[in-house]
Symmetry: C2
Subunit: 146 residues, 2 copies
């Protein structure tokens, strides 16, 4: 895992540093993690790392195309290493869990609007909202008796 992180950084022309390698490892283990979750994970193995450094690294990774940043409504920004395939997301309204969904029709842009209003359209971002299995089961358990 560490090797991959180093290769990723090198191929993007970024210096290989402990915080960067550790952030990438954390994202590899926990896709769709927010900055503070990444910080918590990184702190386990590299406790001297600052939250600011994590923000810097996530920003750098995103700017170089090594990571993708998503911002579901009501959630802080989440990061993932799966880039370049225009996949989408399915978010649980209750617990916020995010899972990947392959592109609806194949490749970017996977959809075209009925009217582009003169915009030069670059991409279509799709977010499916629903309730995950765990939250549905929890709801049944706590439902009022009929």
């Amino acid at each position: 895992m560490t090797t991959d992180a180093r290769e990723m950084l090198a191929s993007a022309g970024l210096r290989i540093t402990a915080p960067r390698v550790t952030v990438i490892d954390a994202l590899a283990d926990h896709p769709h993690a927010a900055a503070d979750a990444v910080f918590a994970k990184v702190s386990e193995t590299l406790p001297r790392t600052s939250l600011q450094a994590v923000y810097n690294v996530l920003g750098d990774l995103t700017a170089r195309g090594l990571a993708r940043r998503i911002e579901p409504a009501g959630s802080p920004a989440l990061y993932e290493l799966r880039v370049g395939d225009n996949h989408h997301h399915l978010v649980c309204h209750v617990c916020g869990t995010v899972v990947d969904v392959d592109c609806v029709t194949g490749h970017a842009p996977c959809l075209t609007p009925s009217d582009d209003h003169g915009f030069a359209i670059a991409e279509a971002e799709v977010t499916f909202w629903g309730v995950c299995t765990a939250c549905r089961e929890a709801a049944v358990d706590t439902a009022p008796a009929q």
Copy 2:
């Protein structure tokens, strides 16, 4: 316009107050406005209104289904009065302008993911990203000479 606002509030069982009517009028004039833009607009005609009141009203309208809240990445929350038709949005990467786009395939949920991962899916939210005409023209004007 004022009449419509009053009717909307009444039909939702909300008290008719000056801040609420004015917020609704502001949204009718400026769809996709953020809270501070609504506050600025409301302040013109009702200068004693607090920003907090605007947040309260926007929250109430959203909770009762009179308004819809969208949160494009990198933008504060935006509000619009067009609700219940599952339309989508086209956002300019440069200036943030938002325009409405009719639902891609007709009615909610307008899309189905390739794999629902066990989620009970309620809706599909589509955000198209591109560059609007004005920003494209501005880019040409300031482009470096070849």
